[in-house]
Every structure is written in C-alpha cells, then in structure tokens.
Symmetry: C2
Subunit: 388 residues, 2 copies
Amino acid sequence: MNIGLLGFGVVGRGVYDILAGRDDIRVRTVLCRRDLGALTCAATRDMQDILDDPGIDTVVEVMGGLEPAYAYVSAALAAGKHVVTSNKQLLCRYYKELTALAKANGVTLRGTAAVGGGIPWLTNLEKAARVNRISSVGGILNGTTNFIMDAMHKGDVEFGDVLRRAQELGYAEADPSADIDGWDIQRKLIISASVAFGVCLREEDVPVFGIRSVSAADIRRFRQRGYTCKLIARAERLEDSVAAYVEPTLLAAGALESAVPANFNLVSMEGEYMGRQSFYGQGAGRYPTAYNVVQDLMDIAGGKAGFYTDSFAPCETNNAGALHRYYVRTTAACPELDAAAQEDWDGAVVTLPVSVAHMHALLPRLLEADPESFIAAVQGGGRDAEGC
Amino acid sequence: MNIGLLGFGVVGRGVYDILAGRDDIRVRTVLCRRDLGALTCAATRDMQDILDDPGIDTVVEVMGGLEPAYAYVSAALAAGKHVVTSNKQLLCRYYKELTALAKANGVTLRGTAAVGGGIPWLTNLEKAARVNRISSVGGILNGTTNFIMDAMHKGDVEFGDVLRRAQELGYAEADPSADIDGWDIQRKLIISASVAFGVCLREEDVPVFGIRSVSAADIRRFRQRGYTCKLIARAERLEDSVAAYVEPTLLAAGALESAVPANFNLVSMEGEYMGRQSFYGQGAGRYPTAYNVVQDLMDIAGGKAGFYTDSFAPCETNNAGALHRYYVRTTAACPELDAAAQEDWDGAVVTLPVSVAHMHALLPRLLEADPESFIAAVQGGGRDAEGC
C-alpha cells in the first residue's frame, strides 16, 4: 500500500513516524505547504502530483478544516484512491457526499481517528451494529473540556486560569471555542449516531451548551452534593427519530464517567445483546490519533470495504421526550424556570424534570440577560444514591 | 455458514437465539445430552454426526470444561471445520496444541468470548498488537468477584453473606472456587498475555491469591483510608520474560477500576503509540457472551484467518522485579513481614515495597498458620493522593 499524505502537522508527522518502521504500508508523497527538510519520501505542494501518481493507491487526509480538505478528498476518491481521514469536521459535514462518492468509485473511506482519537470507537461501533441494535451512544468525547473540568474539581480554580494552563500544555487551541463551546464533541456525536443508527443528523438540529461559563462556585456546589460535572454528548434511538444533545451533566461520584481523569475520553454504547460497553483512552494527541489512522490503513489493506455503514436515512432530531432535572445558575428572570424550580442549591436552583428541547430553547434568553449563566443536567442521585 | 453447536446451556441457548434472526449464519445441528424439545434445527447426542456432516463448516463449542470439549474441538479442527469457543479453560490449557492443529488444517480458531464475556477484548488486543508493542495487559476480569467486592464496599457485610446472595442471583456458581480463588481470572490473564506478547505462560507459574478470606473489617480499613479493593490480574512484558500475577489490589478511590460496579469487567492494555486503553462491559451472561461468539462467527465468515497471533514463544514468568507495598492481615508469626512492616492499620500492617514473587512465596506459610489471612497490593496513594 502506497500513501499520499495530505498534511504534516501533529498527526501527519505521527503517521509518518509509525509507518517508518513498516514494509507493508509506505508513505510515497507528502503534501505540505511548508518546507519539510529531509524526508524518506517525496514532498510536493501540488495535490495534482498525488492524484496523477498511479503508484499511490490510498490518500491520508490529516490537514483538518473543510477546505481544501473537502476538494482534495473528493478528488482522491474520484481518482479511485481509498481515503483515510482524521477530520471530524469534514466527515460530519460531508459524509453523505463522501460516502456516495466512495461507493460510486468502488473505494473505501474510513475515519476512525476522527472520533475518539486513539480509541477504536467507530470500528467497534461498526462491528456492534452488525450483530445487535444499538439504542444509545455518547460520553466524554473531548479531552480539552475533560482536562478543564477535572482540574476544576481537583482544585478550587476558575475556568479562565485552567484554560490558560491547558493552552500552555498544548491541550487547548489558541482559539478554544470549538472545544469549550461543544462544537467538536457535537460533530463526534453526529458521526457516531450516523454509524450506530444509520441516520443523517444535521448539525443545526443538535443543541449544544458548553462549559465556557462554569465557575469555581458551581463546582463547589456540585462537590458538596457528591456530583462530578462533565461535558457529555448523548444520542438515543427513538421510534422514528433520534434524541441528540451536548450539555454539561452532573454524575454521581461513583459513575465511571466521574473517574475519567485529565484529557482522557470515555465513550459508550448500549446494545440489545451486549448491554453497555465503554471504551476509554486518549482522545487526541500525535501518536494515539496517528495510531488509529494506521489501523484504518491496515483494515483497508486487509480488504475492508465501504464506509462504516451502508446507508443513511435522513432523520429528525427530537429532544422533547428526553427529560432531565437541571442545575441552573443565572441572574436572568425566567418565570418558566421559577415554576419548575424544585431545590435551592445556595445561589442556584435544580428544576423538576424538564425536556432537553425545552431547556435548550430557554437558554438564549437566559444568556442574553446574563451571559455568565450556567446549566447542567442532573443524572443519578449524587451522594445519597451512592451511599458515600 | 452452517454451525454445529456443542452445548445448549446458558451460552448455547443465547447463540441459538441471536442466530435465529439471521440468514447468513444458521445453526444446523445442536449437540446436547438433554432432550431439547422443539428446535428449528437438528439435534444429536453423537459428535460424529456433526463431524461427518459436510454441510457443517463451523463448530461452536460452549460446553465448558476440558473433556470432552478438547476431544471434540480437536476432532472438528482435524475434520477441517472452523471452531469458535467460549471455553477459557480449554484455550488456556491447550492453545498451543489447538492453534497448531488449526494451522495444519487451514482453518480458523477464535475464542473472544472466553475472556471478558461480551467485551471485544481479544479482538481489540489482536488489532492493537499488529500496530504497536503492547507493554501490559490486565484489570478486572471476573464479574463474580467484582460483584462481591462492590457489595462489600457499599454495605458493611461479610464475604459469606454476599457470596450467598451472588449465588441466588446466578452471579456465582454452586462451587465458587474458580471465581473467588482467582483461577478463572488467571486463565483469562494467560490467554490475554499470549495474544498481547506472543508468549506461552504456564498456569503453575502465575501466582494467584483470591478474595475468599476478605472480611468486613478489612474493607472498613480500606474505605477509611480512601481505597477500593478489587481482584486484579496483571501481566507486564519484560526484557526476556513476563511478570504475571493475580491478587487483591487497593486502588485510589478516583481510579477507573474503583468505579466498576456490580458484575461488570474493565480490562486494559498499554501500547507504545496508543497509550492506555480500557474496555468496559459485561464479562459474562447469556447474551453478552453469545454476542461475542456470533462476532467471531462473522469475522470468520468475513475471511478472518488463523488465531489472534501467529506464534507463541515459551516464556519464563518473573515476578522478582514487580514491587508493591502490601496490606497484610494475619495472626501468623512471620519475621520477614515484621521486618518489612511500614504502617500500622489498626490490626493489619502495610509493608515497604516487596516483590510479588517474595510475597506470594510467603503466602503458604501465612495461610498454614492462619487460614483467614488476607493480603492486598497497595496501588496509588489512597485519600491523600486523590485529594479527597
């Protein structure tokens, strides 16, 4: 197998390093705008060189972003080359187009590293779905936000200070919005739901609330009551639709998710025969992510064909039936919330069960009146239920 | 694919049920000594019927035990039929012989359900080992003992009472020794190490200490100090040997293993590129176990060949370099332990770091003088290190 490698950043370099020791899969040409110095393969700045090279059978796209990644990947598929990508934004936005193009050209498209970094999540989800009906997927799918929440639970520190530390350590981007506002985890959820349920969800239909406004005082309230707060993505198969959303969630201290440290991920599925299964590991980073790119390459070399699932039916998102109690801390006046308030948590309220759809519909109003408002779904029973 | 199904107990019935809905894999004949009533396939009490049927290409062995399972599986492989088994005892004792036989006859042998029940552990381990060097494997690999330890941590109850409850719920056998004395988890560890490292370990070389003698007073001491006790298996790759052992282990309250509830399993591996990965799910039970049997069948139908690894080098077990602090509660006189004692835990001691080899060599003497002696390795820092 001979590779055209698009991009030579963190992940691209990792793929190059791992493949350096192998005879069965070789990098033949790297596409990169920068001067890369001495490599054991060719380098080019022109995608056409890779498309025109009949010796390259497979293209690895690790550039990120929508353009020119989409144009390059489309051209590679159209040229009859297999594609492996780690680009979640690309797969989430264009998977219908890309899988159709792969199918039409009889080549394979894989993107295991796009969701869960080094965790073999999509490959296991694909295998699970062939034997049993998957009823839900989700979990902790973003290492940056888990690092921040973990640090805020371990020390009495404010969000901004932890974010700066995460940026210094390379766990957060200079522009952290995609991570802390939940867009990264939303895309991973949409890709997971499409593989698990064989459906198409639209990004604009999956509501998201991130962790930008969480405060040390919020965390103190959670800890006092035996809860751990994590940014959780969840999708659930309903009769003719899918419930899907991303929101901070309070978990009992004994829950598996509560024990996920630093920048690790934990992603779960439930199936009719296998019950709940969870997968834990590094959700990002050079070598874990490159590791899953190489696993995809080996799967293709071993004859794996197509995409993770054969067909995608367009599908409505419906969060009207998903009911949670919510922690709400806001100075905004909101009669609907006052009517639903059930517990007073010293400066915040916890509501009676309300639907995810309703809560996320109220959010713009809360944030307009108080941009620092923070909410979190309450799951499990906290200290009492765990008997701590 | 047409199946000869050996055994129609808990798992056999589960396999039959799951396959009932499929066209691609059909059960053609069931071998069972009991009268099975109405089935949608043939039934026989004579293995020869299955061996002689050219329409049966694959044999599923879910009888358990060494004989006649070993004779039947050997005969099936020799007759050119693929074999899928959930029998850890068989795979652990005879995998060299069985894999050689499968190789000689050009057929495939798989046993994913033998380790971790419904968790796709061996298949993921196999995939991980093809891309990166695995340095360690292990974890919570027995649901019965985890159920007991979990219940003892959640309530102030004695071992015998919880064991009886586990037996009533069907989580423990009438003869619970294989589970509570650690032999079941030892076999799963040996199979895991052989797949991860490509080595042969002998059962008699892997020391085991179970949970039969743990008391409510022990658990109170652990909880007071912020520890959770679990029965843990671990194997580590060394230069020319492997460290491998099974023993109760005290984990910090925030460790992922500490959050594993009821009869769930959590099994982990570490690799050079991917870092640590863990897999969580149902380690036993009709449908989870049968689910992994069916996954193996689909892998074979999809062209998966051979066993999980190509070759097994005989390998020494060496636990002299694995150093742990140990919790020791015994009335036996033991000058070596007195010399190593570092902390007094109100009726028990915690030692300075001593080798696993040394501790397990002392155990027979402790147990002879005090059959109720209990030990546990101390991992992590308990309450202080976790900042609880």
